[in-house]
């Protein structure tokens, strides 16, 4: 059955399907119960699965991730909602020193099938701490898988894949795209879905590879549309850790140019690693250095400045131009 869903509703539907399929799947976080989450991503789950499986936790992110770890030890598969990107940080210790390491520490005796759902990114006119893009911190942390989605189809499938994964998965939700719609075939088998770890060519092109993920994929596609001078191939990265370098380098070897864009500050962002690695593996194919287009290396500004802070269509096109100016 094909249903037209927003990204938010698609995640909701994916959560529901995972909960129906496996009674060990739990949803937990702040306001995920009756309210259905501040973005309504857990809407109606409380009503249908009850307070034991949809847990309104105390207001404490370390507690959320820490107890999720304990629940996982007892055989559950908790899906934690971190209300906003900027409120993840109290949970850093539990996520980085415990969740990410327990499988290896225990030589595999302890599985950690925990999902952290984090609505991320800016562009919604919010007050401070509601617009962060912290994915690089996670990508630099061994033991975690880090994924993000750019459309409702991926949203529906990848949340289910994340829940099914025996590894801890950080699932970044592009909050300013929550209302973007697509047709989703909700009847297909989970096994038939496009692999969680794979990148996808979102739009083929021949002159330059434009790599984006999450909320920037839409902007990248718009850039490809808008640029009459160059044929831009857009790659939707989808998985931030691991990165699907096969898809990326195949493209770069064809186009000879790579532009990477993300909302996070450029320095030390995910683009840095990809640039470094692609440069190493495609050294003789690159006609220009890898160009990165991201936010500035400052705290996320007051919302009236965010359109200047975030890379937008113009800045992305400017980046493409720079890639050709070499």
């Amino acid at each position: 059955m094909s249903v037209n869903l927003t990204i938010g509703k698609a995640i909701n539907a994916g959560l529901r399907r995972a909960m129906e399929a496996d009674p060990k799947v739990l949803v937990m976080g702040e306001d995920v119960g009756k309210l259905g989450g501040v973005f309504r991503v857990t809407d109606q789950l409380y009503k249908d699965f009850g307070a034991d499986r949809v847990i309104d936790t105390p207001l404490a992110e370390s507690g959320i991730v820490g107890t999720a770890i304990g629940l996982a030890m007892r055989g559950y598969r908790p899906v934690c909602e971190i209300q906003f990107d900027g409120f993840f940080f109290p949970a850093t210790n539990q996520t980085f020193t415990q969740l990410a390491k327990l499988r290896r520490r225990s030589a595999g005796a302890l599985g950690m099938p925990v999902v952290l759902r984090i609505p991320y990114g800016g562009g919604i006119g919010a007050v401070e701490h509601h617009s962060e893009s912290p994915e690089a911190y996670f990508a630099h942390t061994a033991g975690l898988r880090v994924i993000t989605v750019a459309n409702a189809v991926d949203a529906y499938w990848m949340i289910q894949q994340a829940i099914a994964s025996p590894d801890p998965v950080v699932f970044f939700e592009p909050k300013r795209r929550y209302y973007d719609k697509a047709d989703v075939d909700t009847d297909a088998a989970l096994e038939s879905a496009y692999p969680m770890g794979a990148a996808r060519v979102a739009r083929p092109g021949t002159d330059v590879t434009l790599l984006a993920y999450g909320p920037m994929v839409k902007t990248a596609l718009q850039a490809a549309e808008a640029d009459d001078d160059h044929s831009i191939e857009v790659i939707d990265l989808r998985s931030i850790s691991p990165v699907d370098y096969d898809t990326v380098t195949e493209s770069v070897r064809r186009t000879g140019r790579l532009v990477i864009t993300h909302e996070a500050p450029v320095s030390g962002g995910v683009g840095a690693e990809i640039a470094a690695r692609v440069t190493e593996s495609c050294f003789y194919h690159l006609e220009a250095p890898v160009i990165r287009v991201g936010a500035f290396d400052t705290p996320y500004p007051q919302s009236r400045l965010e359109e200047h802070y975030l890379p937008d269509l113009d800045r992305v096109l400017d980046g493409v131009d720079r890639a050709f100016a070499f």
């Binding site: 009756k34 007050v127 919302s303």
Partner: protein, 372 residues
């Protein structure tokens, strides 16, 4: 085994009943002149008006968000009026009443919720730190600040300095808040923890945050806790005054749980009908902090109709001013993004700023050309 149920003290300190009757409390004597009472009333009405105005401005698209203080005016005005100029207050994001008392113009608050600033005022100038959004974080700042006050030798005696920090019922669940309780206790820091228990943390009722009344948390860390009627401006003032005095004199921290109610939505983004019943609100409306004070004043001749009318008129004017000034708040310069990230030069960032200035200029040039 320590007992967690039996407590022989009264649960709620109240000096003014919902009906506007004065009650005496042996531990919290309060002797206010008529002028002072009228001042409190004025505060309550004016901050409520600012709040109503701000909610309307948000609806009109002038603000990105607003966190309403509706129903919590007495807790905020009462506690803030207990402060002295040398004291320092640390708000969360809902303390518009405290900001008012500390002389921060409503414009500054609106600026933050409009998104033209991330803060606004100079904390030192007003004795009020900036709003803090990450729940609980400010409790540690306040405790550290209070440790600084100790090191300055500014406690002890009547003219000592005290610190107060505001946070919600939900915030008591955060690790930081509990660490702050403990740091304050261990260091005997002059800080008053003022928890506005407005019964809700967004959609979660108190019982999702705590198994027992919040004021009891303090005893577990070794300092006194007290529950006050947060809709009673007299009690809020008297209890806070005593707690500040306790801190000021070097006797260490205290926790005040102001029992109140968030009469509005969590913020303008929120829809409370999804999680709470209307009857609850109706019940709390009968405990409204302004109505009871007005009833008391009217019944006891503290003020006449002219006074009430004058305050309403002042509120109208204030509301209008706020509306106009909010709309007039200028958008910041794009290069403000780079302003004061660091105090001293930072090569990479300085380069980014320069490049961005050029980039912006390129549009202006293009625009200028297009205009020719």
């Amino acid at each position: 085994m320590s007992d967690n149920t039996a407590h022989d003290e009264p649960e709620l300190v109240q000096l003014l009943t919902p009906e506007g009757e004065l009650r005496h409390h042996p531990d919290y004597p309060l002797d206010l002149g008529a002028e002072e009472v009228r001042g409190l009333y004025r505060d309550l009405v004016l901050v409520r008006r600012v709040d109503t105005e701000a909610v309307a401005l948000q609806r009109q698209g002038e603000l990105g968000l607003w966190a309403s203080l509706l129903g919590q005016e007495a807790a905020q005005i009462g506690s803030a009026r207990a402060l002295r100029p040398q004291d320092m207050a640390f708000p969360s994001y809902r303390e518009h009443g405290v900001a008012w008392v500390r002389g921060v113009d409503p414009r500054e608050l609106l600026g933050m919720f409009r998104g033209v600033t991330n803060g606004g005022w100079d904390p030192a100038e007003h004795g009020l730190h900036l709003y803090t959004i990450v729940i609980g974080s400010q409790t540690l700042h306040a405790t550290g600040y209070a440790m600084g006050v100790q090191r300055d030798g500014a406690t002890g005696g009547d003219d000592g300095t005290a610190v107060i920090v505001y946070f919600g019922d939900g915030a008591t669940s955060q690790g930081d808040t509990n660490e702050a309780f403990n740091f304050a206790a261990v260091n005997n820091a002059p800080v008053v923890f003022f928890c506005q228990n407005n019964q809700w943390a967004i959609s979660e009722p108190l019982e999702r945050q705590s198994r027992v009344p919040l004021y009891r948390r303090a005893a577990g860390f070794g300092f006194p806790g007290v529950r006050v009627d947060g809709n009673d401006v007299f009690a809020s003032l008297a209890v806070t005054r005593r707690a500040l005095q306790h801190a000021r004199e070097g006797q260490g921290p205290m926790l005040i749980e102001a029992f109140t109610y968030r009469m509005g939505a969590h913020t303008t983004n929120d829809d409370p009908t999804r999680y709470r019943v209307a009857a609850e609100l109706e019940e709390w409306k009968r405990k409204d902090p302004i109505l009871r004070l007005r009833a008391y004043m009217a019944a006891n001749g503290v003020a006449d109709d002219d006074f009430f009318a004058a305050v309403d008129a002042e509120a109208d004017k204030l509301g209008e001013r706020v509306r106009i000034e909010c709309r007039a708040l200028p958008d910041p310069d794009p290069l403000d993004i780079f302003h004061e990230v660091y105090a001293e030069p930072h090569a990479q960032l300085d380069l980014q700023r320069a490049e961005f200035a050029d980039y912006l200029a390129s549009f202006e040039d293009a625009g200028a050309e297009g205009g020719r």
